[in-house]
Amino acid sequence: MSAAETVTLTIDGIAVDVPKGTGLVEAALAAGIEIPVFCYEPRLGPPVGACRMCLCQVEPGPPKPQAACTLTAQDGMVVRTALTSQIAADAQNATLEFILVNHPLDCPVCDKGGECPLQDLTFRYGPGNTRMTFPKRTFEKPIPVSPLIALDRERCILCYRCTRFSEGVAEDGQLVAVNRGAGSMIATFGDEPYRAPFSGNVIELCPVGALTSTTYRFEARPWEIQAVPTVCGMCPVGCNVNATTREGKVKRILSRNHPEVDDGWLCDKGRFAYAHLHAEDRLRDPILRVRRRGFEEVSWERALDEAERLLREANGRIVTALSGSETVEQAYALGKLLRRGLGAHTAFFPEEMSDALDAYRVPLSAIRDADVVAVLGDGPVIERAPVVELWIKEARRRGARVLYELDEEAVRGADRAILVWCGPGGHGGATVASLAQRLGASGAFYIPDTANGRGVCDAWSCSDDAESPSPDPVGLLIVSGDEAAANPVVRALAEKAERVIVISMFQGLAAGWADLVLPGTSYLERDGSYVNLEGRIQRLRRTVIPPVPDELAWISKLAERFEVELPPYPSLVFEEVSAIAFGGIPFGEIGERAPLPAATGTSDPIELPIEPTPGDHGLRLVRYRPLFSGPAVDRVPQLGFQRPQPEAELSEQDARSRGIRNGEEITIRSNGTSVTLRVRLSRELRPGVVRIPEDFAGDLPPSVEISK
């Protein structure tokens, strides 16, 4: 790689070399100098120069102070910030004076107080007193922008970060500025609730206390909280987050920008679903089925005795249903106990996983730099791996062609083509891997249904080498985790099993059909590791102590009874897995912002699996699990308004050929069953497919007809 072209400029007398095209704010940072900003945020697109906080003296240039955030470093440029220029210092002081004339200065009761850029910059650059003696501008407040977000228009400094995010990043177009001049204010379009999957990011973007989280409002002061770095366990992206905790409780989730994974964005599920930790039906004690009397809560000692008895009585006829949300360590521990201790090798995974994709492993950020992105599989990316959708949107804004139907010529002809598989089928990534190889794509992704599907598969498979036939009948079904417990296939399996043990966080999911329920923990309560959809191994940290013993601790105790050696520490368990599956990297080296393991080269042709083709006539029905659904979301009432609408998505072409217009009701039918839904036309759907959230799909088969 040739050295990037650099330019040399002087900032406050310090000469600094930066790559050509570097913005002045970043160039100053390279010289160790702060240029203060409010509106500037490169992730929101081109600078707007609105707040005027960054005014500096810049030569060559006009004699007046320049908005440094809008300028890029040029050779020979001389920049003087408030440190060395009275003009810049006066200009920055003036900006703060203007911002503060109508700011309520209610810092003592403001959630942002103590972690507020307006406070910080006023402290460093602002006036220490006020010359404003007129009544301040007032607005009605707080305005509920949505059940999740409160807006205080008096605190707002109109940096337009939130509206730029809404328009230019999430592209939901719902947050807007209305009115003009001093009467300008932020509002939602048509005063509708801000209902969009990424809405919570505006809270973090807001440099003042204007946009606050309704779930965090008045919950804590910044000096009495801790930030625990971990990763989100709600989908296979594994966005890096900080959990804010206070007195042993999670109070909020913030992004912890990993520029290759999430670019600092979170979806509302990842941000707000933490409240499931405090769900009313959270299990705290094991539950045992007792004849006649039904169920009773028992001690952990008794529960482990019962578990041991059930395991022994099953005589090896055991099936384990995994969720894909276990940590690598939990899955390995279960595998080691059951497979080595009991010879029970049969596992039910939520989905197939293939390692063929490892040859096309690239960071998610590579999507942004692609010139062709092909999204295959007919599933909605935003519902399965929301942040991936933001990468795709950014690629499109940068001029990439985004295809929703495979165009082999376009992929072949591109310098950088990325394939993404999202939806049913796909053989755990084998299909896109094979296509990537054949068409010369530079990267490929498979979006699994579960947060750690890949890690769980790897961990289970390296827990033992032996195999055994599937037991019939099943003596004992072990259901690991809430997703498995909610899975209809697993429930059907349970009906036939003689005995059932369920590990679950919630009473509502497990009570009634299990012989023994062992309370489970959430990803926010576990130490361990996850493997995300890129193949990146990321570290989960225990952000709060769970109200129940963690899985690894009691699995280890149980393992002892079967003479299986299993340390109760994630670090040691990880190292056993790592030695086989992850090239031996130690637990301590996973890192805060985990690197992506190198792609494993392959020259062997990857066989293209055969995908089922829809029938000769009719449309293919793709049913999907919506983002805002599942055991955790079900327990967070504030997320209720984000639930999917009863809608069916249809391509414009299919709609046109049937004379169907956006918003009309259509009937989807097959073999005597039918559902009627409002239609939403989608440019992100190829012809021949109709897409429906699973809650509204009834028992429709995969091939359907539609009519008005």
């Binding site: 120069g49 005027r52 003036a94 007129f134 001049g181 001093a182 300008s184």
Partner: protein, 441 residues
């Protein structure tokens, strides 16, 4: 020498030039034919030779502006001519009359500009309230569109604004034209390189474009014989306020301001004394009544720290209160501030608040300094010229009429009260000033 209707308005006394046939009868569209026979570069050279400078207010050399536009081979995107017909500056109403009386000369200029920058698309962004000129342009455009020989392959689109002064700022105009909120963009990139739809764009004022056909017809060098150095040719000046004959007058640049007010404007009604003159629309530094023995041209006014701006000359007689004038101007800019950048949004509001308190007589002497400090803190810090000009204009009232401002403090009220005849002059007020008890009998 003040002569009327020499270049831009030529022929309007004799004929109804809104009709294509009438316009053609005096040789109309001949310049277009002549220009099209020239290479685009030759047209630009001719305009450079004419020393024509933009009539919208910034006075930027038109030929030079065009020369910044990349050639189609350098940038294959469509090139656009955008006409700034959003004339909204208090005191200026010249483009109104130009569009209403010589629409074809204006369109001919548009087509010459399109030829010069090799554009096929002209967008005319006309002030929403200009319904009369809009109807006339519509009629003229209809006639023009029926004439393929004149129109060529250029499309002219009339787009009506929605009543925002800020949309007269060229980048806000482009945003508005694109369907966005009318707020200025940061520069660079300049419109010549990245304007409408991020493509090369020339934004020109109505009068600038209407001056092109005569320039092509007579030749740039001939046009440059008119006027004075750095201010060549003629200018359509809007004269209003306390004059006998308010209206638009086409003058040769360099004509004395006294001539404008006393000869063309007919002097001050009732033989009153001239107290002050706003020389180039509300955003320019005010002149005292005794500062008008000066040529109406760029350099002469620059010597007095002011400008021709958009050529709106407003005469104010000796009954006018400068604090009340300040309130009118400040309220106008506060009302028209787009709200994008901090100093303008917050500062213009604060200025109005201080000025109102001065007028009411409740202000302290120190608040006069505060007013100047606020103006100073706005000036030079804004994203676009709107807030800056408000600050500069108001500060000039204080600077030139400081004693009058101090009198408001010392007398605890306005010495003029209701007798200050600013109604219907410059800009309407949102809230009528309150007459203080200290009004002299």
């Amino acid at each position: 020498m003040a002569t009327e209707h020499m270049i831009v308005m030529a022929g309007t006394d004799e004929r109804d030039l809104t009709k294509l046939a009438e316009y053609e009868a005096i040789g109309g569209y001949g310049a277009l034919v002549k220009a099209r026979a020239m290479s685009p570069n030759a047209v630009i050279d001719e305009v450079v030779a004419s020393e024509l400078r933009g009539r919208g207010g910034a006075f930027f050399p038109t030929g030079r502006k065009w020369s910044f536009v990349p050639k189609p081979e350098q940038n294959p995107n469509p090139h656009y001519v955008v006409v700034n017909a959003d004339e909204s500056e208090p005191g200026s109403f010249k483009d109104n009359e130009i569009m209403a009386r010589v629409p074809h000369r204006f369109f001919e200029g548009c087509l010459i500009a399109a030829h010069a920058i090799e554009s096929k698309n002209v967008f005319v962004y006309i002030r929403g309230e200009y319904t009369g000129p809009y109807e006339i342009l519509l009629g003229a455009l209809k006639e023009l569109e029926a004439r393929a020989d004149l129109r060529g392959d250029v499309t002219i689109v009339l787009h009506r604004g929605a009543g925002a002064y800020i949309c007269g700022e060229e980048t806000a105009l482009l945003e508005s034209l694109e369907g966005e909120r009318g707020q200025p963009r940061t520069k660079p990139p300049f419109p010549a390189v990245q304007g409408l739809y991020a493509s090369p764009t020339v934004v020109n004022n109505v009068e600038t474009l209407a001056t092109l056909p005569p320039i092509i017809e007579m030749g740039g060098a001939e046009y440059a014989k008119l006027g004075v150095p750095d201010s060549r040719g003629t200018r359509v000046v809007s004269i209003s306020g306390h004059v006998e004959r308010p209206g638009n007058y086409e003058i040769e640049n360099g004509t004395s301001m006294r001539e404008l007010i006393y000869d063309l404007g007919g002097g001050i009604p009732g033989g009153r004394a001239l107290k002050a003159v706003i020389p180039g629309g509300s955003s320019t530094v005010i002149l005292k009544g005794d500062e008008i023995d000066v040529g109406y041209d760029f350099n002469s006014l620059l010597n007095l720290n002011t400008a021709m701006g958009s050529a709106g000359v407003v005469a104010l007689d000796d009954r006018c209160c400068m604090v009340q004038l300040g309130i009118r101007i400040s309220e106008f800019y506060e009302h028209e501030s787009c709200g994008k950048c901090t100093p303008c949004r917050e500062g213009t509001r604060w200025m109005t608040q201080i000025l109102r308190r001065l007028e009411s007589g409740e202000a302290l002497q120190s608040e006069l300094d505060l007013l100047l400090a606020v103006c100073d803190r706005i000036n030079g810090k804004c994203l676009c010229p709107l807030g800056e000009t408000a600050a500069v204009a108001v500060a000039s009232y204080v600077e030139k009429f400081r004693a009058e401002f101090i009198a408001h403090v010392e007398q605890s009220g306005c010495p003029f009260g209701d007798s200050s005849p600013l109604h219907d002059v410059v800009a309407p007020v949102a809230v009528a000033h309150s007459a203080s008890s200290a009004v002299p009998a």
